[in-house]
């Protein structure tokens, strides 16, 4: 892997399941890019990231922008392509909405837009990233569960919390235990 490749990583221990990332994603993919107006648009904007619950961990799931994307290989119209940054994108005008990509995605990150009938998925906020901004989901995450950077940058940020910090804050384990009250799932 090229170390300068930008990544978004999700830290499930820090995800509170608030779904701020989902809302920010939908707003970013709206016409107005404004929370107050986005909910009035037709068609309504759709988020491309989903917070799922698994084994009492909540976790944002989105396109992983694979190095060797099965969706790209499966696309009969060559609508899916890779950018120089390694982002896997869909060319809307070439997409025929056949859904071939949906079935092969290993994380279930592609959906067919119910009204536009084309495949949609995380585009890594490519315009924002090229403009030097954070992807919308990362910017919106209130606990730092979503982080953006190169592998080296992310590695250097990952430090063990100090003892003092651990004492003054809530252990992610407490939230896990609360989510575990969903005992029958």
């Amino acid at each position: 892997m090229k170390t300068e490749k930008k990544l978004i990583i999700a830290h499930p221990g820090l995800c509170t399941g608030c779904k701020s990332c989902e809302i920010a994603c939908a707003v970013e993919h709206s016409k107005s890019k404004d929370i107050y107006f986005a909910s009035l648009e037709t068609p309504l904007p759709i988020q491309r990231i989903r917070v799922l619950l698994r084994d009492s961990y909540s976790m944002p799931v989105r396109c992983q922008h694979c190095l060797d994307p099965p969706c790209l290989a499966a696309c009969p119209t060559k609508a899916i392509f890779q950018t120089p940054e390694g982002f896997v994108l869909i060319n809307d005008s070439r997409c025929i909405g056949c859904g071939s990509c949906v079935g092969v995605c290993p994380v279930g990150a592609i959906q067919i837009h119910p009204e536009l009938k084309i495949a949609i998925k995380c585009d890594f906020c490519v315009d924002r990233v090229r403009a030097g901004l954070l992807p919308a989901c990362v910017e919106a995450c209130p606990t730092g569960a979503l982080q953006f950077g190169t592998l080296d940058e992310l590695r250097s940020k990952a430090r063990a919390p100090t003892r003092a910090k651990m004492e003054e804050t809530i252990s992610p384990k407490i939230l896990r235990e609360m989510l575990q009250t969903v005992r029958w799932v």
Binding site: P106, I170, E177, L179
Partner: protein, 634 residues
């Protein structure tokens, strides 16, 4: 992530202990109809800020959230930290619960006033003796006065308790709470002054820029909850007894199997008995039976749901469906012509669900309207006419029942209810002494009040029943109200045979008195009856409530009303278990106050444990410790 998609499916036997509920959840799945369990899954994962209580929406500088893990913001825009936000949110929950119980009481005061002034023929004073008792404790003269005059004075004095602006403590509390409690509340400045005032002050304190001190906020929470337990709820109970009769032991049948194939089924759901008791009475009239026959049914079957069901069954022994998570399932039988609701715990989902069947959902209260429901406004001055109108609507709907879609589970249980304080005293032979002696010599080890709710987060009835069975097995008498009572009845704990599940001491006492080992004391406002028992025991023994070998528990709570109840239990000195974690863990300080420090102040505290068996064991050891301190055999 692995490649597979996460599919969450409801397995009926995993989400409810009630076999009738399991059958209907399966029916819902077959018919593609959504229930609370489906909607709960659709909400997953639920927001951690909300679960931890660190989200503040009290002004539009925000909304603000505190990062519970310390990486993000530690303060809201105004500077409120997690401690302040969690305490403020909890106080608002207590205020809402208190408002609900007390507004219910206000409606009953209104009916008493109409009766006293001769403005309604639909109701009367059913328990004159209780009216006189209440008048006496309120200092209202009774000698040589007629009942309606006394009733009018009682209504006026109690109505005054809501909004009076002097600093005097609430009169019902002063009359009924044990002496040591009152001294303690006075000392810590938590004596409630007026019901609406405490709720109002809660809203004031929690608005932007007022109270930021978690201790000060929580103390007001205690004060507000006391206005509920010892006054609002207390008033609802006392006046319902006066108007509808003080409950006496009564047999009834419960579970979804009480719905009948060839009858017009009407379900009364909500909390206030004013209308539901009328529906039950009028439905039994020959006129309504005749009308039902005209439409091809054998008669009208009125079944109770939730606490309005409790209110009516405690007095009339009507068949009862059960607790709150059965509300949608009742409609799912396809055999309910009408569901008549008043207020509280009414899922708005009922309207959509009713549209899937022939059921008419009828709202009756100006403060409870649901889009999609038929609204027939109730007026206590014309109660009989309105009840007749609603029942007629249900009867006329009977031919619309689609028998191909009807499925009524067979399950139903026999149970005994009606254990008001008066009924318990009468079972004891008129005095508390037999109970006190049994407690002292250890035949009965203690008393636990179990209350409140089902919650989709817990397997329905599992927490309530597991905990209750463990307690009675250990010679602890269980009393309770609300949705617990429905669960206990459905699972056979209100039958005389249930004594077989009791420990040897409790079994002996129950057999001697002819009572089950778990006692149905009424609806959730009737938790006030538990306070009366605790106060009377404390006074009789010359100790404080916090010294008694007693505890409270809400294993499956969900409602803000349960927060108010839990808080007035704790403030009254009771060790109180919660089976669902309240939204306070985002503040270590508030959590510590509620589960540790508060005990040093009021003698009671909260204890949170989702596992009902572990909770029962802890409760048993707390009771043992209290017995040891009293010098009673453990």
């Amino acid at each position: 992530m692995e490649g597979e998609k996460v599919v969450l499916k409801i397995q009926p036997q995993k989400v409810s202990l009630n076999p009738a509920a399991q059958e209907l959840i399966e029916k819902a799945q077959k018919e593609g109809v959504e229930t609370a369990w489906d909607r709960y899954l659709a909400q997953q994962p639920q927001c951690g800020f909300g679960l931890l209580g660190v989200c503040c929406r009290n002004c539009v500088l925000g909304p603000c959230r505190i990062d519970p893990f310390g990486n993000g913001p530690k303060k809201g825009v105004c500077g409120a930290d997690a401690d302040t936000i969690v305490a403020r949110n909890l106080l608002r929950m207590i205020a809402a619960g208190t408002a609900a119980h007390s507004d219910h009481a206000r409606d009953i005061v209104h009916v008493l006033e109409l009766v006293a002034e001769g403005k309604t023929k639909s109701y009367s004073i059913k328990d004159v003796e209780k009216l006189l008792t209440v008048a006496k404790i309120l200092g209202i003269p009774i000698d040589g006065r007629d009942t309606s005059e006394i009733a009018r004075d009682v209504a006026h004095v109690l109505a005054h308790e809501f909004g009076k602006h002097d600093e005097e403590p609430l009169r019902l509390l002063m009359a009924l709470a044990p002496k040591r409690r009152k001294e303690l509340w006075q000392k810590f400045g938590v004596m409630p002054r007026a019901i609406d005032r405490e709720v109002n002050e809660s809203m004031h304190r929690t608005t932007m820029g007022v109270d930021a001190d978690p201790v000060n906020l929580l103390l007001h929470g205690a004060r507000t909850s006391l206005a509920d337990g010892w006054s609002g709820s207390m008033m609802a109970t006392l006046l319902s007894d006066i108007l509808f009769g003080t409950p006496k032991p009564i047999e009834y049948v419960i579970n979804l199997g009480v719905l009948k194939d060839d009858y017009v089924n009407i379900v009364v759901h909500g909390h206030n008995p004013i209308l539901s008791i009328k529906i039950a009475e009028v439905a039994m009239s020959p006129e309504m039976t005749e009308l039902a026959k005209k439409y091809g049914a054998k008669g009208v079957n009125v079944a109770g749901m939730c606490c309005t069901g409790n209110e009516v069954l405690m007095r009339l022994g009507i068949p009862t469906i059960g607790n709150t998570l059965l509300q949608e399932l009742a409609i799912l039988t396809g055999a309910v012509e009408a569901m008549i609701v008043d207020y509280q715990c009414i899922m708005p989902a009922l309207a959509t669900l009713a549209e899937c069947y022939h059921t008419k959902l009828v709202t009756t209260e100006p403060k409870t309207k649901i889009p999609g429901a038929i609204h027939i406004e109730f007026d206590p001055a014309n109660a009989d006419e309105i009840a007749k109108k609603i029942i007629t609507l249900a009867i006329e709907n009977y031919p619309n029942r689609n028998n191909a879609r009807v499925y009524i589970p067979k399950h139903k249980s026999k149970a005994i209810a009606g254990f008001s304080v008066e009924a318990i005293l009468s079972a004891l032979g008129g005095t508390l002494d037999p109970l006190i002696n049994a407690l002292k010599d250890g035949t009965i080890k203690g008393i636990v009040g179990v209350v409140g709710c089902n919650n989709v987060k817990v397997k329905q009835d599992f927490g309530l029943i597991t905990l209750t069975e463990k307690l009675i097995e250990n010679d602890i008498l269980v009393v309770g109200t609300g949705c617990w009572a429905h669960a206990a009845a459905i699972h056979g704990l209100f039958s005389k045979e249930a004594v077989e599940k009791a420990g040897p001491g409790l079994k002996k006492v129950c057999q001697a008195l002819g009572i089950p080992p778990a006692l149905h004391m009424g609806s959730c406002v009737d938790c006030s009856r538990i306070l009366i028992v605790l106060g009377a025991l404390a006074d009789a023994l010359g100790v404080d409530i916090s010294d008694l070998p007693v505890a409270g528990s809400a294993p499956e709570w969900f409602s803000e009303k349960a927060v108010a109840i839990g808080t007035y239990f704790v403030a009254s000195g009771v060790f109180t278990h919660l089976g669902v974690v309240p939204p306070v863990l985002g503040s270590k300080k508030v959590t510590k106050i509620l589960t540790e420090d508060i005990e040093g102040v009021v003698g009671g505290k909260f204890y949170v444990e989702p596992d009902p068996l572990k909770a029962a064991e802890t409760i048993i050891s707390v009771i043992r410790e209290k017995r040891r301190k009293l010098g009673w055999p453990v």
